[in-house]
């Protein structure tokens, strides 16, 4: 803000206190002048002039100040009033030369307002007064017009006027200097206030940066605020490095996360694809995604939707895409990323239970290693996908491709292994069957042996039994004989049979 602007806009404010102080000082000074005028009246009885002129001077000053308190007019009136007071004193003291010194006193008093222009009414009246008298005196008029001097020659008059001009000039110069100093002090004060305000804001700014609030805006920074600019640069540098760090972290964490998925699902391409697309869409905070993998033999190679996330039913049904068909097929052929920002209205829609909307952008990336392409990844988002995310997709697609290749190999190996195992199982089953047959055969043999043994035993037993039978038979025969004998005896001893039996069996 330069000085003229300051003067126009803020001068009243700048000089408010100074003007108030000056008003008090001037009020006292004018009252002192008035009292002095009355005092001087006693010398030559000039009461009328002392009271009337002095009183009118006070009326002029205080009346103007009361009527126009916001105007500087009363200050200019003061210059004239002080000149009139001086003329009054000169008159009251019958031209006492020393009364002219009141011009100097008055000129000095006027410095109080720090406005050099206030000297003008004073010097104007003095000049008009002296010029009139000088004209009268030096134009051939024989009268004496310069007070107590017998005759004021031209040289004396010139010295007189010159000194008055010097005094008024010096007072005006001091007024100007004081005014300039006051304005400078005000401007310095304002500058200091601005600096303090900037420092306070910069402290808050620095605190916000230290808290990690890198989006904090410090709008008060201007070119002169070096600290603010340094902090702004620091914030921008930190923001850039933080963004870079976040991007790197995003990529690193994403790779880790995807790697986990890749590691955890390395046996099944279908499961791997589903986990991958789910993990990718969620991690990148997108809205839709699908993985198309190359399927079929060399004669019938095509892309097939292996896994998808939040796909439309219609699109989900279109699982097979020929190579070169649409953007997916084209991406496969070109082996390069396709990033669509201006997505046609009916290209695809992201739907939810409440509604649907076309995506803001679609990213189609080839899933490929350096040597081989295995499929295409399609992602859609309601919001724009940034460069870092695209770079992440490029990187991760290589890992995914390698993993899919590996998984396919694993899957094939597993399939072979499974077949091999199945065959082994079958062999083992047959072997078991043979073994069981053998065991059964063995058991049968054992049974046969055992039965043979049993048979032999039975043969022996039968032989024994035969012998026993023979013995029994023999014994039976004996018994039969005995019995017959007994019967005969009994028949012979009919009077006493018991004694005869006891005799026989004892």
């Amino acid at each position: 803000m330069n000085q003229p602007q300051v003067l126009q806009s803020n001068k009243k404010e700048i000089f408010k206190e100074i003007t108030a102080n000056a008003d008090r000082f001037i009020t006292n000074s004018l009252l002192a002048y008035f009292v002095l005028g009355i005092g001087l009246s006693f010398f030559y009885g000039t009461y009328l002039v002392g009271i009337a002129v002095g009183g009118l001077c006070l009326v002029a000053f205080f009346g103007t100040r009361m009527l126009l308190p916001n105007s500087d007019l009363y200050q200019y009136v003061l210059g004239g009033v002080l000149a009139i007071f001086t003329a009054q004193f000169i008159y009251q003291m019958h031209g006492l030369f020393e009364m002219h010194f009141f011009v100097f006193v008055s000129s000095t008093i006027l410095i109080a307002y720090q406005n050099w222009k206030l000297q003008l009414p004073l010097i104007l009246l003095v000049v008009v007064h002296h010029a009139l008298f000088a004209f009268l005196q030096y134009s051939g008029n024989t009268g004496i017009y310069f007070t107590q001097l017998a005759y004021m020659d031209l040289l004396t008059f010139m010295i007189h006027g010159g000194l008055a001009a010097v005094i008024v000039g010096v007072c005006g110069w001091w007024s100007f200097q004081f005014e300039k100093r006051t304005i400078n002090e005000y401007m310095n004060s304002k500058k200091l206030e601005v600096q303090l305000s900037s420092v306070s804001k910069n402290i808050v700014f620095a605190e916000e940066i230290s808290k990690g609030n890198l989006d904090y805006k410090n709008d008060s920074v201007d070119q002169s605020d070096e600290l603010g600019n340094a902090l702004l640069k620091m914030q921008q540098s930190i923001a850039i490095s933080t963004k870079r760090e976040q991007e790197e972290k995003f990529v690193t964490m994403g790779i880790n996360k995807i790697s986990e998925i890749l590691r955890g699902n390395s046996s099944n391409v279908k499961v791997l694809s589903e986990e991958l697309i789910k993990g990718l869409v969620k991690y990148m905070k997108l809205n839709q995604g699908g993985i198309f993998l190359l399927e079929g033999d060399s004669a019938d190679q095509h892309l097939e939707l292996t896994a998808c996330y939040a796909f439309e039913r219609k699109k989900f049904l279109e699982k097979r895409i020929e190579l070169g068909e649409g953007l997916i097929g084209q991406c496969f052929l070109e082996r390069d990323i396709i990033y669509l920002k201006d997505v046609p209205k009916h290209y695809v829609r992201i739907t939810s239970g409440l509604g649907d909307a076309p995506p803001s952008c679609v990213l189609i990336a080839p899933i490929q290693t350096q040597d081989e392409i295995v499929g295409v990844l399609e992602l859609a988002s309601l919001y724009e996908i940034n460069e870092n995310t695209i770079e992440f997709v490029k990187k991760i697609c290589q890992s995914i491709a390698s993993s899919i290749v590996s998984t396919k190999i694993t899957e094939r190996v597993q399939k072979l292994l499974s077949e091999s195992q199945q065959q082994g199982e079958e062999l083992r089953a047959q072997e078991e069957e043979v073994r069981q047959n053998m065991e059964e055969l063995s058991a049968t043999q054992e049974v046969m042996v055992r039965k043979e043994n049993e048979l032999q035993e039975r043969m022996v037993e039968m032989k024994v039994n035969e012998e026993d039978m023979q013995k029994v038979e023999k014994k039976y025969r004996q018994l039969t004989i005995d019995h017959q004998n007994l019967l005969k005896t009994l028949a012979d001893n009919k009077e006493n049979p018991v004694e005869k039996l006891t005799e026989l069996y004892t």
Binding site: Y44, G45, T46, L48, V49, A52, V53, L56, C57, V59, A60, G63, T64, L67, L68, S71, L73, V77, I84, A87, Y91, H94, G95, T142, G143, I144, Y145, T147, Q148, L149, A150, Y151
Partner: protein, 209 residues
């Protein structure tokens, strides 16, 4: 749009300036110009016999008359000078203060002292006899009652120009018995206040012709 207060302020200042100018004009500036000569004025030449009242004509000393009007600021300007003249030459001359009204006697005594003789020239007879039509004026008569000097005290209103202390020079000349000195026109052209007319009197003239 002109503010009402501004108009009032300008009018106030204008009236103050006019009033102050009028006061200064009334109190001083108009006296810087020669006093208008009355239409009935009859000039009295040097060495011309002046018709004096008997109380004065009978004196054997040169007579010094100071025409004084306490209401005239110019009379106040040189009062100090007059006192010095009377004090310095009072022994050699008969000094009188002539006032236009008996109401002014008290003021005159206060200004010049009780011992001084005050003449009340209510009808301006003495003034006309001496050819005086303004105050302050000095009139010096020789012992024969002839006009020796009539005129101003000094070129300067406050009698500060030593070289032009006309009245004092004339007094010294008459005391030394010299012929009436010849001064420039500034000595004889009357400056100051016109003699008042129609002032209410509460007594008759203190002297008669």
């Amino acid at each position: 749009m002109v503010n009402f207060r501004s108009v009032v302020a300008v009018v106030l200042l204008f009236m103050v300036v006019i009033t102050i100018g009028y006061i200064f004009w009334q109190q001083e500036l108009r006296y810087a110009l020669p006093t208008p000569v009355p239409s009935s004025y009859v000039a009295v030449q040097i060495n011309q016999q002046v018709n004096l009242p008997s109380t004065i004509s009978s004196l054997k000393k040169p007579v010094y008359l100071h025409f004084y009007n306490p209401d005239c600021p110019c009379s106040l300007f040189n009062a100090k000078h007059v006192r010095e003249l009377i004090f310095s030459h009072g022994d050699s001359i008969a000094a009188f203060v002539v006032v236009p009204s008996s109401l002014d006697v008290k003021e005159a005594k206060k200004e010049f002292g009780d011992h001084l003789q005050i003449l009340v020239d209510a009808d301006q007879l003495l003034a006309k006899s001496c050819g005086v039509y303004s105050t302050p004026q000095a009139v010096i008569l020789d012992t024969e009652g002839k006009l020796y000097y009539r005129g101003n005290y000094n070129r300067a209103r406050y009698c500060t120009a030593q070289a032009t202390n006309y009245a004092e020079l004339a007094l010294l000349a008459i005391i030394n018995g010299a012929v009436p000195p010849t001064f420039d026109l500034l000595a004889s052209k009357s400056y100051g206040c016109e003699l008042p007319t129609g002032k209410v009197e509460n007594s008759m003239s203190m002297f008669k012709f």
